[in-house]
Symmetry: C2
Subunit: 365 residues, 2 copies
Amino acid sequence: MKELNVKVPAVQETSYPIIIGSGLLSKAMKMVNDKFPRYAKFIVSDICVANAGLLKTLDPQGNIPKFIINPAGEQSKTIQTVISIVEQMEKAYMGRDTVIIALGGGTVGDMAGFAAAIFKRGIPVVQIPTTTVAQADSSVGGKTGVDSTISKNAFGSFHHPAMVIIDIQTLMTLDDRQYMAGLIESVKHALIMDAEYFDFIESNIENITARKTEILEAIAEKNCRIKASVVENDPTEKNQRRALNYGHTIGHAVESASNFDLLHGESVAIGIVAAGLIEEEMSLADNAQHKRIRNILARLNMPAKIPASISQQQIIELLKRDKKAINSWPKFVLLEKIGKVHCIDNQWAIDVDEKLIRKTLPKLY
Amino acid sequence: MKELNVKVPAVQETSYPIIIGSGLLSKAMKMVNDKFPRYAKFIVSDICVANAGLLKTLDPQGNIPKFIINPAGEQSKTIQTVISIVEQMEKAYMGRDTVIIALGGGTVGDMAGFAAAIFKRGIPVVQIPTTTVAQADSSVGGKTGVDSTISKNAFGSFHHPAMVIIDIQTLMTLDDRQYMAGLIESVKHALIMDAEYFDFIESNIENITARKTEILEAIAEKNCRIKASVVENDPTEKNQRRALNYGHTIGHAVESASNFDLLHGESVAIGIVAAGLIEEEMSLADNAQHKRIRNILARLNMPAKIPASISQQQIIELLKRDKKAINSWPKFVLLEKIGKVHCIDNQWAIDVDEKLIRKTLPKLY
């Protein structure tokens, strides 16, 4: 018996820029071309973004090869759509010297990012998020993934974007429901990391719902700073990055079980309420704090209850299949107070017994 | 306009062991359990390997969850098979604390490795290669991938194994054709990196075809040392690693066009002959050298001609879709002499004009 060792060399630190502003979309292709002068370009977007006119702003001539996801949204976020993207790129004879430009919300970014991660073993992706949820969260950090027929993000990889371009003006095309739901990721950032930011959201809630450009730019920057600091500390989610999952464990289960009737942000809002109930059950947080949080969620028109069509048992089953589950049960992120996650043994996600979850679930109906 | 920067932290150097011996398969699960005591185990194999009795040697009780690819071989090496593997793991409630054990040839290793790369954003894989081609080449180096309906390895990623276990005894189960074809990767290693190794193969060709254990252990070790040194220098194939592609550019096209009637090694053998003809056309190598190479390929019963059912135009079309193509045309690896790749400007893969390829192709019929 012989043993050899194969070294896997170290990878140097790199970085990517996030560019935030108003009216950037019409200049975005120039930014991409400046960064990737010798690369072919391929746009991935969806039918809603195209219908809202954003695709035309990005590519006025319409001559950049593209894939338009149709229908838009979670129901298309499947491995089959990624296969279609890759095969369309192949039909256009695109090689490894291609950069994918993802124009759209979180699902477009996830699908385009995952396609870039696995196309011919990996090509660069530029994220141009156009929704509140994508600008606050999913476009930064390199998580990509698509759903299987069984669970969310069953397929995925870490693939950092080469550049992120955030144009606040694109948010003006969103309908109220989508706009509001996406703000939940901003609330989440404040809850886990920054009490002052929570105060800021609370005192500016009317300007936020009125989509005031200056406030939105400030929020975009704040979100990116928080997200960047967390993913820099823990790029592949060994510990601190799990904090970003606040409200998402039960949120993902509710989202899945609702068959995408609920938006991601609406599901996470329910998940945040659930986390609050668990915190109360564990005597972590007081009732006054929950009132403040619930009040903000209500001002953003978020649901606080699980739809009656979803059974408690369904939620338990989906929690067991959570992709972060260890021994078929996930860990939970909980707050000590607004702006501070409750860590045990320096772990940001902690054990919560299935019994305690079963005890909490009825309060969400 | 504001610009933030997100750091992507450096990744430390790591390493993984390759364990080579005779009769290791019955001890392999103990090795895996020792390395991953708290991980669930999931085996990916194929029907041929199962029928040859190797699966029973690895898992005598038959109680480790598994996915058996059926039919075996290239026709199953598709994204749809990877989807089935992932969904079977999900149905078994497997989480990120799972290690995939790939038992089989190159196609099993590629599919299991790719499934591990994308399952819930990545889990470890242990490679137990059971064919000459997988032991010589594909089990080491972290390349994973599956075919689309349009081209080979259209989907893939770099995902290094956590451990490689090479049991020479598993080669005794191969039929002659598969056994011989897999040796072409050993010939390729010698051609690109090590003239003495080529002499060794030449003078031991009878012991090799007779499957003498000692010779096979020596070859396995030699192959792993060459492959390891190349991938250590260039893990993500920026330059030197391209040398491993010798004979593969036209080889892959022929393999694809043959609809898998030809084995990978047989196609690469044709590709090596093609490379030789290109080298002659470019006055790189003399005729005596080619005779030596062709003689070894003939002793291993390899074809030297492209099947008449495949047109030259088909080959040209597939070359344009080669996953390494830049501007729709691949670069080629060529020899200066046995053991030495012809580099230009320190590049291991170089430009060869489409006209020269079109001039060479007729000589392969």
